[in-house]
Symmetry: C2
Subunit: 550 residues, 2 copies
């Protein structure tokens, strides 16, 4: 088993099982770039290992339709084709939309399964049995994977919601069946292990909606995740009860709602869903907008509305906004900025500090324990968490009677050997980050990111001189151009002094040195400039010397 | 009254009261740069307004020794001198250390007061009466400020801790006395208004320390804020009880502990405080380190220890780390990264998700309500919060019977007119950010920050051509240099194609155009390059054309 993603950071879930000539792949997700991955749009798993063994890949199995599980398919599937991809109907619907946009749909081999029919899908040396789990998107599954080394149960992202909005419960009977057959390894979600007890049911959010809808006199805005179909269902149901219509704002949300509705995962018996241009014609007290941007994403609907630059909707006094999400670590500043702006615009804002507006899609400690009790695995591998989550999960597993030598932590790129005797990390493969920036995949690597970090900190300063290729004499310059270091119009003195200093250093160099070693000359310019500027400003802009030969 | 800082963002507290020819200033803090203020070290209040009225400033009053209240003094005090600065002994001790380092101590006029003696300090048209408040640093005060328009009570940062570690309670008797005299305006802390009930006493942290110290077998590390003297006191007391010695790691912490000890705000009856080099000689089970870096600051002791690059201390299995702080919004990612690293190194890590390791220094809702009841002001002005905090505080004030027209929100730069008839924002003064970057104050403005943001996103690409000043013909180039855009070694094709494209555009231009309008030529180069690169990569690096005349 090889982890290409899913550990030690949020997102980018992907791993593979390999047995002699057969490989199966589970999920193919993206990560959203971290703060210091400047300018990057998306982070993909590095699938070099798979590319080299493409002919052995028997199938791809996908657990659910979240971006961190399906988002890399438009980028990576072409490298893996032809290969069948198995998922539930809603998950396949979301994948279909992605592949269609990427012009890949006709080449893909998409195969739906119904977990309630308890299929067993053969793929080389493996047999994969999906089982339903509750999560923050409908139609999510885990996999029981029978291998020559025994049965591996992969919980995927789950919670044990006793009252899910769509009524489809986690298939505990199947988990008990797995236990009876003997579970060699449980790969368990662990990302929410810090929470004690039981994660509340998604249904409790309906009570907050009900209370807010009852009190609101003007328009209501509900911001949530585009994939949280159950939340949209609850808005639809509450709106119907209070005589309001519902319109969506934000492309990803509109797409997901359309797909979910077409496939029967979203019901609108009263016909409250309308187009946003229709909503604009209705009196305020009859309107609900479901909007994207609950994580403070600057280009999403909620941010645009908060900043007063949304094309169709202006917010103000009388409006109520429910920010129905919890900020993901790293997004707090952006989320609170949007909330502040909404308050400043005069809206009533209901957010996490004021009401129960969000519940996690992941299992808390009691549910993780129950998954252990249901499956009673010989070995466990905590999955999808950071190192602190793995450590706390290990405590939980110890409590449940799993000996510490049967608890394996893995990092991205680790090879986990699973034999009848042991489960252990035995090797590593190359499996780092691949960056997507604009339309270029992979062209932006760590060197470029490091440069961006330096540029962001202190800017850049270029020093250009023209030298006569025959005499080695400077015929023009030094000229200086700078960005992100000092404001040129106000720093004329510093720039002039720097030029003079460079000229002096170069004078000492070129007098009598007639040379064509422009590399050496460049280094002289760089060092002299850097030393001078650090002395004057205590800062270290990137120095880029250019010698033009004329 | 003019706000130069303290609202709408955390930090940078500073405001002034003005009455005809008299001005008094309250606090002089810094803000720590926000994520998008790239490369900036500190943010100062803009005191242009004060500089122009320097001769009217009668005094500076400082509430307590936190950076967001005193941190700008080394930068701004020289512009305000000569002026007396009033504060409690510990606050003055911390200010003294700063001014000494900046070489300003001999010029400063520092005047201590003892709030328990109930002084009334006259300063022009104003009389200022400090009163003790509990907060997360000892010797903090608020001010009752008698003005020609009535009595203004400034709570400053406070909580109502019934059992503070130093035993010094908030002076509620003084607040009641103010109420009897009639409070025209309460300026109230509001930053913790999202928390219901009462903020726990600092003392409860001692229980966690006791439990962890009782169980720990190896070394104990406690990471906290350098100014949280009460927390250090609790570490000292718990260490004494368990036969351990305490050493500090981190310069700011060492300084603060030394000052607090010299001034009697930190007691070490058993002599457990030792130097870190002594601690290194002791058996693990006798050592506690108090360290800086609980907010994940990359250069602080905790980060260095977690990453294995601290000069003196290596962490590993058997060690216990208490991260005795809550991440400030925006710092979560950095803090969790450090916690993950500590777990990875094998340490036992006690942090917020596992135990009560931190309590706020600010009043929760019930305490804010009590401050309103104690002072019964005619008007209130929520202070030190973001807009969402002000909005929630307004709800609380309404509940307490303050009519909505008596609740004033202010932003940085607002002029608040306080007359016997009204309290209202009536004007604005220039009061933005002043950035400190390296040793330069103010040279980095918004233009530079905007450039850094663009550089961070997509990098920069320079196009240099040399042209003959007489003929206008291109004699060398175009040469291209780039940083933070693509990795040059792997993008040779793209760069060559760009050069060819620029050459083509320039060829069309210079043929028959013999000109010396290098500005026009530069714009041609920039536009052609930008358009070409966007078409090829969907990215927009900053384009910097340079025309060298030879």
């Amino acid at each position: 088993m090889i982890f290409l993603g899913g550990l030690a950071e949020i997102g980018k879930n992907m791993f593979l099982l390999e047995c002699e000539e057969d490989i199966i792949v589970v999920d193919c997700g993206v990560a959203f770039p971290q703060e210091e991955q400047l300018g990057i749009d998306l982070v993909l798993p590095d699938i070099s290992y798979l590319r080299e063994r493409k002919d052995r890949i028997r199938a791809i199995f996908v657990t659910h339709g979240h971006e961190d599980h399906i988002g890399a398919l438009p980028y990576l599937l072409p490298d893996l084709l032809p290969v069948p991809l198995y998922a539930t109907p809603l998950t396949l619907g979301l994948i279909t939309a992605k592949l269609e946009e990427a012009g890949l749909l006709s080449r893909a081999d998409l195969r739906p399964f119904d977990p309630d029919a308890h299929p067993a899908i053969a793929a080389g040396a493996f047999t994969v049995e999906p089982f339903r789990v509750t999560h923050s998107i409908p139609d999510a599954v885990g996999f029981g994977m029978t291998t020559p080394a025994g049965l591996i149960v992969h919980s995927s992202d789950f919670k044990l919601d006793p009252t899910p909005i769509d009524g489809r419960l986690t298939d505990e009977a199947k988990l008990e069946e797995f236990r009876q057959r003997g579970v060699r390894l449980l790969i368990s979600d662990c990302v929410h292990v810090e929470a004690t007890g039981h994660t509340p049911s998604e249904r409790v959010i309906g009570e907050t909606y009900d209370r807010v809808f009852a009190a609101a006199e003007g328009r209501i805005f509900v911001a949530t995740f585009a994939s949280l179909i159950a939340r949209v269902q609850q808005v639809i149901d509450t709106a119907a009860a209070y005589g309001r219509k519902v319109a969506t704002l934000g492309r990803s949300l509109e797409n997901n709602v359309r797909i979910a509705q077409e496939l029967g995962y979203l019901t609108d018996a009263e016909g409250v869903l309308i187009e946003s241009r229709e909503a604009a014609q209705l009196p305020d007290e009859q309107v609900v907008y479901v909007v994207t941007g609950a994580q403070g994403e600057p280009m999403a609907a909620l941010s645009r509305i908060a900043n007063g630059d949304h094309r169709d909707v202006a917010i103000g006094a009388g409006d109520t906004v429910i920010v129905s999400a919890t900020p993901i670590p790293g997004n707090e500043t952006a989320v609170f900025r949007v909330i502040n702006q909404l308050f400043r615009a005069g809206a009533e804002v209901i957010y996490g500090a004021r009401a129960l507006v969000h519940v996690s899609g992941h299992a808390s400690r009691d549910e993780l324990r129950r998954m252990l009790d249901l499956t009673r695995p010989r070995h466990v591998l905590p999955f999808h968490g950071e190192h602190r989550h793995m450590a706390l999960y290990a405590d939980l597993a110890l409590d449940a009677g799993i000996p510490s030598e049967s608890i394996t932590f893995a990092e991205v790129g680790d090879v986990i050997e699973i034999t009848p005797d042991k489960v252990a990390v035995t090797d590593r493969v190359g499996a780092g980050y691949v960056y997507v920036d604009g339309v270029t995949v992979g062209a932006v690597g760590d060197v470029v990111i490091r440069d961006r970090r330096a540029l962001a900190r202190d800017g850049i300063l270029m020093v250009i001189v023209s030298v006569d290729r025959d005499t080695g004499q400077i015929v023009a310059g030094p000229e200086i151009a700078t960005r992100g270091f000092v404001y040129l119009k106000e720093a004329g003195e510093l720039i002039d002094a720097t030029k003079a200093h460079v000229r002096e250093v170069l004078g000492a160099y070129t007098n009598g040195h007639q040379t064509d070693d422009w590399g050496y000359l460049s280094r002289q310019i760089r060092d002299a400039t850097a030393t001078y500027l650090f002395r004057e400003t205590r800062r270290r802009p990137m120095i880029l010397p250019m010698v033009m030969e004329v």
